[in-house]
Amino acid sequence: MKKNLIEVNNLEKYFEVSGGLFSRKKSIVKAVDNISFNIPLGESLGLVGQSGCGKTTTARALSLLDPKTAGEVKFYNNKTDSMESIDNLEGDELKEFRRNIQMIFQDPYESLNPRWTIKDIILEPLNIHNIGNLDDREEAVAEILKTVGLTPSENYLPRYPHELSGGQRQRVSIARTLIMKPKFVVCDEPTSMLDVSIRISIMDLMLKLAEDLEVSYLYITHDLAVARYMCNRIAVMFNGKIVELAETEELLSNPIHPYTKRLISSIPVPDPSYERIVYDINYDELDEIIAKHGAEEPMVDVGNKHFVATHDVKGLI
């Protein structure tokens, strides 16, 4: 039984929205509504969904960028060999957390400080956490640049972000993120703003680094095909909830939830001779599942490590 790196239970993030200038009533937007999942050590989970489904909010809550409203998030602490909650982390504990959890952002143009040189950008994590002395740090920076394919490093270190291409900038982001050898990296659509032909090289780089450094990814994307390439397991999100969670190939070959089926069948296929048939929404199969396995919240186990949400989605999809 593999150890879990992260355990998320009943995570919730609600926003209060005022009803208008004169209205006292505040309505609640449930951006993330009772989701649960685990990520075993060394594995990657894809969080797939369309815009507004709550995947980015989940990512921000997990990395403590924004506070969560409710729920339990536990991380594996290898020093104590136990799962520890992220609530109320302070001081050294918080710093330890910040060493092990990192995030790669979507926009290569906005995720690097335009006034800093590449060298400073990659040095920053080492400076914040006081790793080694100055020589050690500079050596580490040169090393990681080589690893992400930006060589010779002298060509890149003194430059500013605007002098690099989108693909090169994402490599710098990856370098900065992985220089601390974190255990967990949240990737918020890191390739969606890059050219198609460059995406694969960035994704291959991330896969290789995951293997070499034993990093787990939470890979957030709207593109199921990309999630397939990057992740062992995929969770499909809709309307703040996870509707289906399974191993990648199992999910693609045997989708159960009507939303997942609709999603998969809507994706255009790069083959002119392929006859793509869009799934016609039908809630029967879901009702059968509930009848067979029960309706426990939030998701029910249908066997083969495949989970399906049972809440009512009639009329929403």
Binding site: Q50, D195, I200, R262, S266, I267, P270, D271, P272, V278
Partner: protein, 324 residues
């Protein structure tokens, strides 16, 4: 009887900037038959949007068309005055821009904005006639009639995009250019919109130019396609032919670097490096620095690039034809 709705020959366009002339469109030629859907695929900076803008003569102020001819149903567009162009635009050829959802004026109702376009071309129409026409267009794209009275911010992204398509069709154009019309939309909505476009095209007998960086969309939406790289067309032909039998190294890489959700999980190829700078003189094959298997001919800077026909209607760049 002219079979081609659009005939582009040797189109050359460059932008004048402080760093020099950037050749955005280099020797582009293609023909589109009536009723055909023609796909233009390529990555950012390849020139596909520049081509689209040239076709409707809406290019930027510092863009200069140095050479070439664009004939819409036999009529030459380059060199027309602004007033002559206004009659052609929207009426002969219309365009759905990239990010067109945001092209709506936020303080004017949708219906009124479409009526404005119709009034330009059909000033004799009564208001009732225009409303009827818009209702018809809306039903074609799957929009309810009362959308006409809404403001842009009241509509979702998908609805705004459908309205944009209705706007593009409002003056009965013969040719519609769709420049990445579904980029910002969710996959499920994208699928619906693509279906609407196909339906409308069949219904009205439209000719369509579909521009995208997504090769899967091109596969599903077009019958003929052209692949662009660094401002010129590197391969062109019937869509199934190009997919089945890609000749140019760039086309092959594009096809092999696109992950898919169907079929077995494939090992994908990647492309390193950057597209070339388009400033100044450009000689020889622009793709050779990134080509995985360049021959000596390819690296030859003095090679004159031109498209060679491989089989019926299928063209590719000369160096790749001679390659394997």
């Amino acid at each position: 009887m002219n079979e081609n709705i659009l005939s582009v020959k040797n189109l050359n366009m460059h932008y004048e900037t402080i760093s020099g002339n950037v050749s955005a469109v280099r020797n582009v030629s293609f023909d589109i038959k009536k009723g055909e859907s023609f796909g233009l695929v390529g990555e950012s900076g390849c020139g596909k949007t520049s081509v689209a803008m040239s076709l409707v003569q809406l290019q930027a102020d510092n863009a200069v068309i140095s050479e070439g001819s664009i004939k819409l149903d036999g009529k030459e567009l380059i060199g027309l005055s602004e007033s002559e162009l206004r009659t052609v635009r929207w009426d002969g050829i219309s365009i759905v821009f990239q990010g067109a959802m945001n092209a709506w004026n936020p303080v004017i109702k949708i219906g009124e904005q479409i009526r404005e376009a119709i009034r330009e071309h059909y000033p004799e129409n009564t208001k009732a006639q225009n409303i009827e026409k818009i209702t018809e267009l809306f039903s074609m794209v799957g929009l309810d009639q009362n959308i006409m009275d809404r403001f842009p911010h009241e509509l979702s992204g998908g609805m705004k995009q459908r309205a944009v398509i209705a706007l593009a069709l409002s003056c009965d154009p013969k040719l519609v250019i769709a420049d990445e019309p579904t980029t910002a939309l969710d996959v499920v909505i994208q699928d619906q919109i693509l279906n609407e476009i196909k339906k409308v095209q069949d219904l009205l007998g439209l000719s369509l130019i579909y521009i995208s960086h997504d090769i899967a969309v091109i596969a599903e939406m077009t019958t003929t396609m052209a692949v662009m790289y660094a401002g010129s067309i590197v391969e062109m032909g019937p869509t199934d032919e190009v997919f089945k039998n890609p000749k140019h190294a760039y086309t092959r890489l594009l096809l092999e670097s696109t992950p898919s959700v169907v079929g077995d999980k494939k090992k994908l190829r990647s492309l390193d490096g950057e597209p070339p700078s388009l400033i100044g003189d450009i000689k020889g094959c622009t793709f050779s620095p990134r080509c995985p298997e360049p021959t000596d001919d390819c690296k030859n800077q003095t090679l004159e690039m031109k498209l060679i026909e491989i089989s019926n209607g299928h063209f590719a760049d000369i160096c790749c034809v001679n390659c394997k």
